[in-house]
């Protein structure tokens, strides 16, 4: 039996990211016009401390225990989400959204973050239990339900940005469980249909392409038909769905397509963020020196747009370094997932990887106008207790998986 090894690379990467993140958060608080976020880095420091404790605790859990406890944890998280739906409070930079659980006015945390972890564990349990990859869409249905429930509950808050993370986790998990890419595409098709329904022409072309694709793939007839009808329904219902979106969500989507539609309001965020990032140039204006940030042109600079501060103050060089750090973390997670001892552990690590990847790409993409503004935080950078805790616990779990894999490696690949 080999010696257990702590994954030092992962620990180092995460510690460096947390350090850079905390330094950026400190800088984000240094504005010329004093604001409430000036001292927020101190509270983040407390959350990091709690996160380290959480990671250590998670490291103590064996995967077997986790697999056993997953349904209960998942159920608890769902209950919390339902509770939030009825008794939730708004807060922070998204005060219109009732996404917090509070007791006697004290905000405790955002259950959506806990639910992400619970969903990862539950998906790992049901997909890890399978010997073979889901052969068709029906076989992927249980996984879809596991992710769909928290998705719906979070979307109802309404917090579409966080809700989409559950969909990303589902697709990542199905991919890791071996679902054929063509089937993934079919699963994804109703969403594409929704996006393309803004114009009759684009939607018509899409439906024709889909029909040809289904005929070429020849899935089970029932599956093919239901996918086709799902596309038709989402396309037809697009307008109704659009109208049911909150006005701020509509504006966000529109100004993603064209920030100049509304440059003083919703488009403002994207425009100002791009100005901040662009004025950073190749080497940045210097740590703590960002004028866009300093003069409060950057919106939500401590949460959603914290990466703009990195872009402005550290420049393209700083961006390259931090992007590499994030990419390295994902690569390490993929390696751990690949070398895990058992399907459940591998699934958990893959789920964590897809969650962190989604957050990173969507948040950073948002600061440069590649993604619509969804308000999901950047791991280890954005201020936020629940998410920091979730990330730390996830990393703790991954470290445990990695630790065990070194000990019981039976196949060297």
């Amino acid at each position: 039996m080999e010696r257990h090894n702590l994954d030092k690379a992962l620990v180092a990467l995460v510690v460096v990211l947390m350090g850079v993140g905390l330094a950026t958060l400190y800088s984000a608080g240094q504005t010329d016009v004093p604001s409430s976020v000036a001292d927020i880095w101190k509270r983040q420091l407390i959350w990091i401390g709690l996160g380290v404790v959480g990671a250590l605790a998670a490291f103590r859990f064996s995967p077997r225990l986790l697999e056993w406890v997953a349904p209960a944890f998942y159920g608890f998280a769902i209950l919390l989400l339902i509770w939030t739906l009825f008794f939730g409070v708004g807060g922070g930079t998204a005060s219109a959204t009732k996404s917090w659980i509070g007791i006697f006015g004290v905000r405790l945390g955002q259950p959506a973050e806990v639910a992400k972890l619970a969903t990862i564990l539950m998906l790992a349990r049901i997909l890890g239990a399978r010997r073979h990859p889901p052969a068709g869409i029906w076989e992927a249905l249980p996984a879809g339900i596991v992710a769909g429930i928290p998705f719906a509950l979070v979307a109802l808050q309404p917090d579409l940005g966080s809700a989409i993370v559950f969909i990303a986790i589902l697709f990542g998990a199905l991919y890791w469980a071996g679902l054929k890419p063509s089937l993934l595409l079919l699963l994804l098709s109703p969403g594409i249909s929704l996006l393309l329904s803004f114009s009759t022409w684009s939607w018509g072309i899409w439906i024709v392409c889909l029909t040809l694709f289904v005929l070429w793939m020849r899935p089970y007839i029932l599956e093919g038909l239901s996918i086709w009808f799902a596309n038709a329904i989402t396309g037809a219902a697009a307008l109704t769905l659009w109208e049911r979106l909150q006005p701020y969500q509509q504006r966000r989507l529109l100004s993603f397509l064209d920030p100049d539609i509304d440059p003083r309001a919703t488009g403002w965020h994207i425009i100002q963020s791009k100005i901040a990032v662009g004025s950073g140039g190749a080497f940045g204006v210097g740590y703590l020196e960002g004028t866009q940030k300093r003069l409060a042109f950057l919106p939500a600079q401590h949460t959603d747009f914290i990466y703009s501060v990195v872009g402005e103050e550290l420049g393209f060089l700083g961006v390259l370094v931090t992007l590499s750090l994030f990419a390295a973390v994902i690569f390490v997670l993929l390696r751990v997932a690949r070398k895990a001892n058992d399907p459940f552990s591998s699934m958990v690590v893959a789920g964590v990887a897809i969650m962190l990847l989604t957050h990173t790409i969507v948040n950073i993409g948002m600061t440069i106008g590649l993604m619509p503004i969804t308000g999901i935080p950047l791991p280890f950078f954005s201020y936020g207790g629940s998410f920091m805790l979730t990330c730390c616990i996830s990393i703790g779990l991954v470290l445990r998986v990695s630790w065990e894999a070194h000990g019981l490696r039976h196949l060297n690949v």
Binding site: V33, R130, I275, V277, G278, S279, G311, L320, S324, L357
Partner: protein
């Protein structure tokens, strides 16, 4: 095959790595495009985001007199402004802290708050011309007034005050309407521009070029700090060298009888340079600097004696007897008379013309006179007949040729055009073709009737008489090379000398005999302008030394009745010009002589003139009464 087979997992992990790499590369490329390729563009955007240009007011150019004495300068002034977050807190600070120190009343506070509402993110200006004392008092309470902004701003100052008010004018903040005009091209809102006088006439020269600096503002537009970079310093305006003699000018102010209205213009006939130009009553132009107190403005603009009115160039008076020189010049030029010519009708206190009796100012009459004597005694009857000989049409065309139709052309704004009938058609238009008689010729010949002139224009005419060649340049406060010679009177040197000699005799033994100086031969002419609104105005226009004139002085004193009293004032000024500071202003002479009604023409027959009224009856004038 199980999905967890190592080969399958490895394959998916590799594909996953590829996808992850692609995603991060897309991000990195986009950052590269924005940060490296677009850096310049976004840097500019960031600057225009946060930097707001603020003009740095340029100090105005100095105005100097002919000897380099400063007439208008800039002294350190302070603008006091306050940055406030909302109107309520501004009102609180103003009422509780600043009002007791800066002496603000509720009206001013209301004005300041209105100004704040117009531009809530800029510092709201409280006072533009704060004194050093006020600034230091406010500095002491800076603890209680946190966002106080005190900025040095050059402040206009006129050391000689009211003495030169009508020459210099004053300055004020540009108005919205003025911003649109060509006169103030290059000015922007808040610029201090010339409001009157030389300040306005030469505003473009004096204004200089405003500089620019930047203030950094935050996302809400609040000023954060001043930025040094990219500052463009302000350029002071050019210095204006005037022809004014400030010593003579202040002497004129002192010599001018207190409480009387009128104007004095002193000019060098050779160059046209104005030595003194004074209008009474005057005002202190320093009161206008930094925004005038509305109450003072009201009292100035509504005062019955209208101190803002420049009587030297805007006041129009019947030229009266001084115009007889123009009539004489016209007759001489046309060869109608020479200096020894006598008229058909000797003066017996008046003459009959048409159905009316036109009186001379001297009831007992002058007897038979030559032209020389007629000028000397200012005999009206002589000039009635001379006017008739010239004929109305020729008199009008000669008057126009001598410059009585056009403004003198002084380089001051608002000079009024004289009233002078351009042709006979004028009378037809005004009274109808049959509505007037040639009696108007008689009135015109003695400088009355439909005729009024500014002091400056009469002075210009006398400068032509004074100059050896019978021509004079346009009057100028600032000499430039471009001022062209005016057309000449067209008289021979002998004729001019004869006129000058007659004018000398006016002072030596004629109507202005009391004003003669033993040490200097002064030529001049008195006049009494009939005033339809009340008592007549007194004229005197003179030049000296008579042989080779260096100065022409013209003066009008309103309601002074007699030009001979005004003559004392003028000879006093001439004396001061030649003999320096030891000359004292002469004691005030009684400018008002009793019981001298203006002699209106007496109607002889109850005739058709009930329907055809003469201008005299319309109330424009009667006859001159010089002394």
């Amino acid at each position: 095959m199980t999905w967890f087979h190592p080969h399958a997992v490895t394959r998916r992990a590799d594909a996953g790595r590829l996808v992850v790499s692609l995603l991060f590369i897309v991000l990195a490329v986009t950052f590269f495009r924005i940060q490296v390729l677009g850096a310049y563009h976004y840097e500019l955007e960031s600057k225009s985001n946060r930097l707001r240009p603020v003009p740095v007011p340029a100090p105005r150019g100095l105005i100097l007199d002919r000897n380099g004495v400063v007439l208008a300068e800039n002294v350190p002034g302070y603008t006091i402004a306050l940055m406030a977050s909302d109107a309520d807190s501004l009102r609180r600070v103003l009422e509780q802290v600043i009002a007791p120190i800066a002496n603000l009343d509720s009206l001013r506070i209301a004005n300041i708050i209105r100004r704040f509402r117009r531009a809530p993110h800029e510092p709201t200006i409280i006072r533009r011309d704060a004194s050093f004392e006020l600034v230091s008092a406010l500095e002491e309470s800076r603890v209680r007034i946190k966002r106080l902004v005190i900025e040095p701003q050059p402040k206009r100052s006129y050391p000689h005050g009211s003495a030169v008010a009508h020459v210099l004018g004053y300055v004020g903040e540009i108005t919205e309407e003025e911003l649109a005009t060509d006169q103030f091209r290059g000015a922007r809102g808040g610029t201090i521009v010339g409001r009157d006088g030389l300040e306005r006439q030469y505003d473009a020269t004096l204004r200089g070029r405003d500089g620019q600096r930047f203030i950094e503002v935050d996302a809400l537009g609040r000023t954060v700090k001043h930025v040094q970079e990219d500052t463009i310093p302000a350029e002071q305006g050019d210095t204006l060298h005037t022809t004014l003699d400030i010593e003579l000018q202040t002497f004129v102010e002192e010599a001018f009888p207190d409480g009387w209205r009128g104007a004095v213009v002193a000019m060098d006939p050779r160059t046209g340079g104005i030595l003194a130009l004074y209008s009474s009553p005057s005002y202190d132009p320093n009161l206008f600097v930094g925004g005038m107190d509305p109450e003072i403005w009201r009292s100035l603009s509504r005062a019955a004696d209208n101190p803002l009115f420049n009587r030297a160039i805007e006041g129009r008076y019947a030229p009266a007897s001084p115009f007889k020189l123009a009539v004489a010049a016209s007759a001489l030029r046309r060869g109608i008379v020479d200096f020894d010519s006598r008229m058909d009708v000797p003066c017996e206190g008046g003459m009959l013309y048409g159905n009316r009796y036109f009186r001379c100012w001297r009831e007992e009459g002058h007897g038979e006179l030559t032209l020389h004597e007629a000028i000397l005694h200012s005999c009206d009857v002589y000039f009635y007949q001379l006017g008739l000989r010239i004929t109305l049409a020729d008199l009008l065309s000669d008057g126009a040729a001598m410059g009585f139709l056009d403004p003198a052309g002084i380089d001051l704004p608002d000079e009024r055009t004289p009233i002078f009938p351009p042709s006979v058609a004028y009378y037809d238009e005004r009274y109808g073709p049959r509505g007037w008689t040639s009696g108007v010729t008689l009135n015109l010949a003695i400088g009355q009737g439909e005729h009024s002139q500014t002091v400056i224009n009469v002075v210009k005419f006398f400068a032509k008489l004074a100059n050896p060649h019978g021509a004079a340049p346009e009057p100028r406060l600032v000499l430039d090379d471009a001022s062209a010679e005016e057309s000449s009177l067209g008289l021979t040197a002998e004729q001019l000398a004869g006129l000058r000699e007659a004018l000398v005799m006016v002072v030596e033994e004629g109507t202005a005999v009391g004003a003669r100086l033993s040490e200097l031969r002064i030529a001049g002419k008195t006049g009494t302008a009939q005033n339809p609104h009340g008592l007549p105005h007194g004229w005197f226009v003179g030049f000296a030394p008579a042989e080779n004139p260096e100065i022409v002085v013209g003066a009008v004193v309103e309601f002074a009745e007699h030009g001979s009293s005004v003559a004392y004032l003028v000879t006093n000024i001439i004396q001061r010009h030649f003999f320096g500071p030891e000359v004292q202003p002469s004691p005030v002479i009684d400018y008002l002589l009793p019981s001298d009604s203006a002699p209106q023409p007496i109607r002889i027959l109850p005739d058709s003139s009930l329907t055809s009224r003469t201008p005299a009856e319309v109330g424009v004038g009667g006859a001159a009464q010089p002394r």
